[in-house]
Amino acid sequence: MSENISEPLVEVKDLRVEFDVRSGIVKAVDGLNLTIYRGRTVGVIGESGCGKSMTARAILNMVPKPGKITSGNIIYHRRMQNNGHGQMDDIIELTKLDPDGKTIREIRGGEIGMIFQEPMSSLTPVYTAGAHIHEAVSLHHLTPVRKVGDQIAEQAMAHRQISKEEAREVAIKMLRRVGIPKPEQRVDSYPHQLSGGQRQRVMIAIALSCEPSMLIADEPTTALDVSIEAQILDIMRELQESVNMAIMFITHNLGVIASMAEEIVVMYMGKAVEQAKVVELFKDAKHPYTQALLKSIPQLGKKNRNERLASISGMVPDPFNLPTGCVFHPRCPLFMPGKCDKIVPKWTKVGEDHWVACLLYEEV
């Protein structure tokens, strides 16, 4: 794994995703830069509506309507292997691809796998919106009337040259790998015969059945109990090592991210506000938002019965009417009048691999 330490796989450059709705324009992602390296895990944290899931959708060229990628690009270093003489990388701009085209459909689910939170309430509004979304849904949604084994086998066959029998073997192997008991029998089960945790493990089996070079995991364990969650995180870590897979792990659970990610990006209102190595971020967070977020979770084992939790005052701003300057300034405990409400902070380096967008760390 060591030789791949800084081989970029996906580079997100100045990405902007906007939703043009009746009441105005919502900037779901507002100028995001992010690099995902082979075999490594990047964690994206933030509260609902901060744009973390929309970034994931943009990478798969799957932004639901009326959303649109308005600027920036996403570069994917695609590894082609079967030319007879080793590997070579093909550079593809994901944003330029036709969302219904052949290339993106090969990549989606095949080379970039994905797992989403189980109760897919977040997806309901897009069910009617166009064919490409339909495909996207079918990719991470178990069809209730078909056996789980067939669904894994189909996914494997769609992206690899294997026969039906081989695909069934793959399905059994994957079910065993994700810890489903009696996989030879379970392969013929229907989704409703499985528990919630097992269904989520089947989703992971489907996503990983083609050995993707990258996995996008959007709140993959949020709906699950801690014991199942721990199992699933173990499986993801194991598979990452065995196939050198990159993981983009999106969550609001700081406990999960601490144990999974090597690097963390903190997002607020569509922008990255801080990025650092995991140990550094938890030890020495620079942005007031990150600091507040870390202090606001009750921590297991810390005796804080009579302590109040630090909470971020106020609420997430109205997306149609964003604050001027730094978008966090109305809630920031370290707000500097005349500065934070006027100047938009720049992405500033504050340490080794540690970046922050805050005027406290800028010369102004």
């Binding site: 509260e47 919630g196 109990d225 609001h252 659970n253 406990g255 144990s259 977020l293 921590q299 971020i312």
Partner: protein, 355 residues
């Protein structure tokens, strides 16, 4: 072969005074019906003979994995689900003649008495979107319990509502708005204001912060704590998040497949668990510290099926300490240390790891 579980003995309460709620042998079985004639073919034992108590002004956390019966237990206390068996004793102010409080068994109350008990016990639900009527204004939602109980005095009620809204951090001009105009955290505040409108003694909170973002979750937990101090409230706090439960609770009960596995003071339970299930659960919680390396205990298999639970101790197929006796006998729920109850045959000899 159905093994009839032995009756778990009710815990003897260390200090008999100051008890607000005492639940003894509570059971809630849901029938499984099949066929054209809806013949009952079995039961889902959602809550299976549990006993616990809540003192005045304290918070009892009820934790466990999904399907363990924690929510059913919370709802059975006020007969939102009619319990199959058991007693629920409550120190009622409204049903006593002198207002000083009188122990009544909620299970034996007449509909009229039940109506007045509901002034003293209220609920906060998980989902702040579906638990509020979208066609009612905030003022109607918060004022409805008062109207139902015939306490609506026009102007005066309006003042009470305004004070409640201010107390939970909403503004008086929110009064005429509808639930959809609010964020998730604000809706949960409306639900809390409504729960407090009749000045209850006990509030049953069913996963009140699970649907909220971390910063909003912190605000809501702080609010619940402030309200508890101001109004001397007692909470039964049902949740699956062990860190949240540790933060808010004085005492914690851990449930597994309809039964209470362990109950103790929060700090005692987290640092010195006596039940292997508690130990395993604690070891699975992800800790927000990248340098923390935990020895996770892997629980084999899945949670037992409450309609067809294993013999003996329900946890034995997944327990790494299980012995022959665990398969044969249902462990008794007993007090091993002061105020620390556990249902495990091997609790004395095991030396379990806490946080």
């Amino acid at each position: 072969m159905a093994v009839e579980p032995q009756m778990q003995s009710a815990p003897t309460i260390p200090e008999a005074d100051n008890i607000l709620l005492e639940v003894k042998g509570l059971k809630k079985y849901f029938p499984i019906q099949k066929g054209l004639l809806r013949k009952v073919v079995g039961y889902v034992k959602a809550v299976d003979d549990i006993s616990f108590y809540v003192r005045k002004g304290e918070t009892l956390g009820l934790v466990g994995e999904s399907g363990c019966g924690k929510s059913t237990a919370g709802r059975s206390i006020i007969r939102l689900y009619e319990p199959t068996a058991g007693e629920v004793h409550f120190n009622s102010r409204t049903l006593s003649s002198n207002g000083a409080g009188k122990m009544v068994n909620i299970m034996e109350l007449s509909p009229h008495e039940m109506h007045s008990i509901r002034k003293e016990i209220s609920m906060v639900f998980q989902d702040p979107i579906n638990s509020l009527n979208p066609r009612m204004t905030v003022s109607d939602i918060v004022g409805e319990p008062m109207a139902i109980h015939g306490l609506d005095n026009g102007r005066e009620t309006e003042e009470i509502i305004v004070r409640l809204l201010e107390r939970v951090g909403l503004r008086p001009d929110h009064l005429r708005r509808y639930p959809h105009e609010f964020s998730g955290g604000q809706r949960q505040r409306i639900g809390i204001a409504r729960a407090l409108s009749l000045n209850p003694q006990l509030v049953i909170c069913d996963e009140p912060v699970s649907a909220l973002d971390v910063s909003i979750q912190a605000q809501t937990l702080n609010l619940l704590r402030d309200l508890q101090q101001d109004f001397n409230l007692s909470y039964v706090f049902v949740a699956h998040d062990l860190s949240v439960v540790q933060h808010i609770s004085d005492r914690v009960a851990v449930m597994y497949v309809g039964k209470i596995a362990e109950m103790a003071d929060a700090e005692e339970l987290y640092t010195h668990p006596l039940h292997p299930y508690t130990e395993a659960l604690l070891s699975s919680v992800p800790v927000a510290d990248p340098l923390y390396k935990s020895e996770r205990i892997v629980m084999q298999g899945d949670v037992a099926d409450p309609s067809n639970p294993p013999s003996g101790c329900y946890f034995h197929p997944r327990c790494r300490y299980a012995q022959e006796i665990c398969k044969l006998q249902t462990p008794e729920f007993r007090q091993l240390k002061p105020d620390h109850f556990v249902a495990c045959h091997r609790a004395e000899e095991l030396n379990l790891e806490g946080i």
